[in-house]
């Protein structure tokens, strides 16, 4: 579009004053073409040489420096990260060991405690059993004694009753046998 307009303008200008270029298109006036070419080449050459020899290497060096610095920093960061990871692992290991130790100590002390409790319990139980046995013995002795004394009492009562009722004295041994017989029959009720 743009170039079309410009071409239209150019063509119009050329058509109007074809032989008077300075009035139409000064670009088509060849008077200073050589001069323009000469100065263009000269200026561009100087520009090219100074750019390619001085400025571009400088800028490139600068950019490279920055890139290297960034890379270095990133490397350092990753190094530090690795170090911190190692430290973290070490710390975790220590923590783990400590935990193990703690659990071990806990376990041991628990065992000791358990053992102590067990021995004490056993001792207690033994003592208790002993006491129970003793008590049982006492009880059985007491029972036995009581049975014999009950028998004696019963014999006395029986002989007294018979004496009072009949006025006769019965043979002691027969009374004893009878009482024993009865008490034997009934003893299971009481024991």
């Amino acid at each position: 579009m743009k170039s079309f307009i410009s071409l239209a303008i150019a063509v119009a200008a050329i058509d109007k004053e074809l032989y008077a270029a300075e009035a139409g298109m000064p670009q088509l006036d060849p008077t200073y073409w050589a001069s323009q070419a000469f100065w263009l080449v000269l200026v561009f050459l100087i520009l090219y040489i100074s750019i390619s020899k001085f400025y571009l290497p400088k800028i490139k060096e600068n950019l490279d420096n920055r890139e290297n610095k960034i890379k270095e920093d990133i490397d350092n960061a990753s190094k530090f990260k690795k170090q911190s990871e190692v430290r973290q692992k070490e710390y975790e290991l220590i923590l783990k060991n400590a935990k193990k130790e703690v659990s071990k100590i806990l376990f041991e002390s628990k065992n000791i405690l358990d053992k102590e409790i067990k021995t004490k319990k056993e001792a207690m139980e033994k003592e208790i059993e002993k006491e129970i046995l003793k008590a049982q013995k006492e009880i059985s002795e007491l029972k036995k004694n009581s049975i014999s004394s009950v028998q004696n009492i019963s014999e006395n009562i029986v002989s007294n009753i018979i004496e009072n009722i009949s006025g006769d004295k019965l043979n002691e041994s027969s009374i004893k046998a009878t009482v024993e017989d009865i008490s034997k029959k009934n003893i299971s009720k009481f024991l």
Partner: protein
């Protein structure tokens, strides 16, 4: 001011007449603005690369942005083989860009609005690219005119078209830049003279057009420099990496 919109392109002599072997090589306003543009570039790059900061200041950042912009343009279009030509492309891009931009200043002269300037640059690129092509590939470089995968019937026609398109490269390259610059400046001048002739009452519309066109022209100035450089890269790519 003359009302002729083409007057701004007039070249006139500054200082003494310099004649070497009968050829007029006088210093003209065109030469002056070439020198100004080149000086601005050199000053810019000088201050842009003077201090080597890890965190760049504004001017250093700009210089580095230009550097990486052109570097990326070359590597994208012509690959790594084009690296030796980076300084040339960079100089070319900077020169065209700054000539265009300096031309946008009022009362300045646009170096690139002259066909002879753009034609010399385009012809140099054309010749250089052709030489590079022949040096790199020998006579195999002629295969650039014979695209692969074309039916045998069409081959002569396609080859002729390819040759014409190859030969018209310097013309299209130079006319594109020259015509864009000339058209833009002519339009600015035309609208500017409308503002003056329509006066305080009617001049506002062409003035607003002028403002908009100035913005557009700055865009075009950058775009044409970019196009000039990238087309150079593409031609270079054809010469360096023969695809056929």
């Amino acid at each position: 001011m003359a009302s002729n919109p083409m007057q701004q392109f007039t070249v006139f002599r500054i200082g003494p007449e310099i004649k070497i072997a009968g050829v007029d090589l006088s210093f003209t306003n065109a030469s002056l603005f070439m020198v100004i543009s080149a000086s601005i570039i050199l000053f810019f790059l000088f201050f842009g690369s003077k201090e080597k900061k890890i965190i760049p200041d504004k001017i250093q950042l700009m210089a580095e942005m230009f550097y990486s912009f052109v570097a990326k343009m070359i590597s994208d279009t012509a690959g790594t083989k084009a690296k030796p030509f980076f300084p040339f492309i960079f100089s070319l891009f900077m020169f065209v860009l700054f000539c265009n931009m300096v031309g946008m200043l009022p009362y300045s002269f646009t170096v690139t609005s002259h066909i002879i300037v753009t034609l010399i640059m385009a012809l140099f690129i054309f010749v250089a690219v052709t030489i590079i092509g022949f040096v790199k590939h020998g006579f195999k470089y002629l295969s650039i005119f014979v695209p692969s995968g074309v039916p045998a019937v069409l081959l002569p026609l396609i080859t002729i078209i390819e040759i014409i398109s190859y030969l018209s490269r310097p013309v299209s390259l130079s006319v594109r830049l020259f015509a864009n610059m000339m058209a833009g400046h002519t339009m600015l001048k035309v609208f500017g003279s409308f503002v003056v002739s329509l006066g305080i009452l009617g001049g506002w519309l062409p003035l607003s057009f002028s403002v908009a066109l100035t913005g557009l022209e700055i865009l075009v100035a950058f775009l044409q420099a970019y196009v000039f450089a990238i087309l150079t890269c593409i031609y270079l790519n054809d010469a360096l990496n023969l695809h056929h």
